[in-house]
């Protein structure tokens, strides 16, 4: 980077770090992270004061009645273990009408009737879309019946335990880089990185556009473009903003890691957080690389768009189309995470502007050849340079235009005219 661009970069970084609104927002988010990470500890603390042990809190929300017509159940312990939020009671078949009346009043959540030959009937007072209760219940009923049958058959306790032992399923990734990680881990980690990239580009892209528009609005622009090359101005601004975004992420992540460590005892049950911190080193490095590539490429376009409006307030109208395009890329990467090995994901992962997100999804969740990684990074790097160059041209012409923002076709015509004019001047 040359001196001119470096000067602009330092100025931009300083502007952000000195800006009260930036400091305020950063601190608020850090405090929020710290608070959220501490909530489980605080709950434990309050509960610990009451009864001195640290068992997880379980709130019983509903009552279930079981009517065993077939006489195959000895007790309800398996049900109680499987559904800790429900109170289970074994009722007599003669009480059935009575029970139904109670369920209709809302006193009971539901009635489970068990008939011979493992036929089961379930009546619920209200149905819930999100509850997995009806899906898992047949399995629990089967286990309970089987357990009773095994006990009656006189099988020894250890043998029964062996029979009842559930199958534990582990989903393995075929990625060569990290054999041990499961696809679920990769999914969570990829989701976090992709979402962060999305958020930061949306937020800071707008900042870049606004900062350019502001220099137009306050009329500093003419001094700037007569003091150094436009390329220096836009490159410096984009790199400065990228650094600020990285600083902010580092602060957020640092807060997250610190408070995770402080509260680790209470956070044990939240698997998601552990996974986020267990990202392999090489994947994390790639995540930063793709973050920078994607962020910088988009920031150039945002900067060029910012140069087309006259005031910072008008920015949102010009960046609409770009934001929409970017949402499409984000959606594509969310779909790609569900099926990372599909052919279309492979194709898009080499497409510039898509590759920072989609190639990262593939690297993180599937096995990718090294040359594919290089191809994706290479194509994105070249695109980045081209975008920087085009942006500086648009910026150079845009910064002196005041009034209504031009249409896309007008921008192309403008660039063409400028080129012809320069050639004519050179020729004469």
């Amino acid at each position: 980077m040359n001196r001119g661009a470096w000067t602009v970069t330092r100025f931009e970084v300083g502007n952000y770090l000195k800006k009260k609104s930036w400091i305020r927002t950063t601190i608020i988010v850090m405090v929020l992270i710290a608070l959220l990470m501490s909530v489980p500890s605080i709950i434990l603390l309050i509960k610990g004061d009451k009864d001195g042990d640290s068992k997880p809190i379980i709130i019983v929300t509903s009552k279930m009645a079981v009517v065993d017509h077939a006489g195959v159940l000895s007790d309800l312990s398996l049900f109680e273990q499987a559904y800790k939020d429900k109170a289970w009671s074994l009722e007599d078949g003669a009480e059935l009408e009575n029970l139904r009346a109670r369920a209709r009043k809302g006193d009971l959540y539901g009635i489970l009737e068990i008939f011979p030959e493992k036929r089961v009937r379930l009546a619920l007072s209200k149905e819930s879309m999100t509850d997995s209760f009806t899906e898992t219940l047949p399995h629990v009923v089967e286990q309970a019946i089987n357990l009773n049958l095994l006990i009656k058959s006189g099988m020894s306790q250890p043998s029964i335990a062996q029979v009842m032992q559930p199958v534990s399923l582990e989903l393995a990734s075929l990625s060569a880089t990290s054999d041990s990680k499961t696809i679920y881990h990769a999914y969570v980690q990829t989701y976090i990185v992709t979402f962060l990239l999305y958020m930061m580009i949306m937020l800071y892209g707008q900042f870049v556009a606004q900062s350019v528009a502001k220099e137009k609005g306050n009329r500093a622009m003419e001094i700037l473009i007569t003091s150094t090359k436009p390329l220096n101005l836009i490159v410096g601004k984009v790199i400065g903003t990228t650094l600020v975004a990285l600083i902010q992420i580092a602060l957020f992540f640092g807060t997250f890691a610190l408070f995770f460590k402080i509260n680790s005892a209470a956070l044990q049950s939240i698997e998601f957080l552990y996974i986020a911190l267990q990202m392999p080193f090489d994947t994390a490095l790639l995540a930063i690389l793709f973050f920078i590539l994607g962020f910088v490429s988009f920031a150039f376009v945002f900067g060029a768009l910012g140069s087309l409006v006259s005031r910072a307030e008008d920015v949102s109208t010009t960046i609409g189309a770009l934001s929409f395009f970017f949402v499409i890329i984000f959606m594509a990467s969310i779909f790609a995470m569900m099926n990372p090995s599909e052919f279309w994901v492979k194709v898009l992962s080499f497409l510039p502007l898509f590759s920072p997100m989609l190639l990262y999804v593939r690297i993180s969740m599937t096995s990718v050849m090294w040359w594919e990684v290089l191809l994706g990074i290479g194509s994105q790097l070249i695109t980045m340079v081209i975008l920087a160059w085009i942006s500086s041209k648009i910026y150079r012409l845009g910064v002196l235009m005041y009034g209504k923002p031009p249409k896309f076709r007008e921008i192309i015509a403008m660039l063409k005219r400028d080129r012809e004019q320069k050639n004519a001047v050179r020729a004469s």
Binding site: K19, S21, T25, K214, E215, R219, I223, T226, T228, S316
Partner: protein, 348 residues
């Protein structure tokens, strides 16, 4: 050093603004670029600064093309404004460094100029807290930080109060004495007349008249005389003086174009022949009237400009009003809540 502007053409669509304009400016001179609003002064200056290219023609420094973003040039644009919410010293150092100064040089130069323009007290303040005149001083400082060889000031006087105009005049005179090339544009003729030895009148896309102002003035006939008379120690009213003079010249056979009264006080006699000045003086001496003042009035820059371009004083007044209005709209002093989170629209 010599800045050479050669055969510049520039059109905006069908509007041919500059039509083969040529001009040379040498070191140690201040050139006043005059012209009405829309005459193309700012277009010419922007072409010199390479803000946009000319359709044809070239700008050379001592016969060679040169880099406009170097330390050699200081530029005060017509549209004035800087960062409202950033401290003076921070933005001055930034602008100095952009033009190639090191940080130390930029800080030293900024402090020197802040001190010289008695602005040191505002060093750490944001630009938006300053008055308009002071903001313009900061702009001027920004254009002088690099000790440029060429200083181009577009409309430096517009929007300034008399005190700041004086200050601006002194600074411009100083940098001219230091042997630099200074070009300044404007339509406030009296200011420019006080600062610039050389003028160039821009009209219809070409330089209508250019050269040393004293020499230009000498080419105009010296046939206008201001006369003041008194009677018994009291000054005669202007109208009465004019009456007496008309009578005297008619009876003595001195041919004159007109006897006019300006501002109700100044009596100006315009003779048909400048050589008749002696005859008029003789006539006055012989008449027994008491003459308090008798001197040849040189044409002002404004007179020359109007004569040359055919415009009227009303035209110039209209220009001044228009630029005052545009200044009032300029964003420089507006305190806008710009920035990071402040101005972002909800839901955007």
């Amino acid at each position: 050093m010599q800045l050479q502007i050669q055969d510049i053409h520039k059109s905006y669509g069908d509007n041919h603004v500059l039509r083969g304009l040529s001009l040379n400016v040498s070191s140690g001179q201040a050139l006043g670029l005059l012209g009405r609003n829309g005459a193309g002064k700012t277009t010419l200056i922007r072409i010199i600064m390479n803000v946009f290219p000319a359709d044809s023609g070239q700008i050379l420094l001592d016969g060679k093309p040169f880099l406009r973003t170097s330390k050699t040039i200081g530029y005060l644009p017509e549209e004035k404004g800087l960062y409202a919410d950033i401290s003076l010293i921070r933005q001055l150092v930034y602008l100095g460094m952009l033009r190639g100064l090191t940080r130390d040089e930029a800080v030293r130069a900024s402090d020197y100029w802040l001190d010289r323009l008695s602005m040191t007290g505002y060093r750490e303040q944001n630009l938006e807290t300053l008055s308009k005149g002071n903001q313009q001083k900061i702009q001027l400082i920004a254009s002088l930080l690099t000790k440029p060889e060429i200083v181009i000031l577009d409309e430096p006087f517009s929007g300034l109060d008399p005190v700041n105009v004086m200050m601006m005049r002194e600074i411009v005179s100083d940098i001219v004495k230091e042997g630099r090339i200074v070009i300044l544009s404007g339509h406030q003729m009296p200011f420019i007349e006080q600062v610039c030895q050389n003028i160039a009148i821009l009209d219809n896309g070409v330089i209508d008249l250019a050269g040393d102002l004293v020499k230009i003035k000498q080419t105009y006939p010296r046939n206008t005389i201001e006369i003041r008379m008194e009677e018994e120690g009291q000054r005669l009213p202007a109208e009465r003086t004019a009456e007496i003079l008309r009578e005297l010249m008619t009876t003595k056979g001195i041919r004159f174009e007109e006897v006019s009264v300006q501002n109700g006080r100044r009596v100006l006699v315009t003779l048909e022949e400048a050589n008749d000045r002696g005859h008029l003086l003789d006539a006055l001496a012989g008449s027994g009237l008491s003459v308090e003042r008798f001197f040849v009035v040189e044409p002002t820059l404004e007179d020359i400009f109007l004569k040359k371009t055919g415009y009227t004083r009303e035209d110039l007044a209209a220009d001044e009003r228009a630029s005052q209005e545009s200044l009032a709209e300029a964003p420089m002093t507006k305190k806008r809540r710009g920035g990071l989170f402040g101005s972002r629209k909800r839901g955007a």
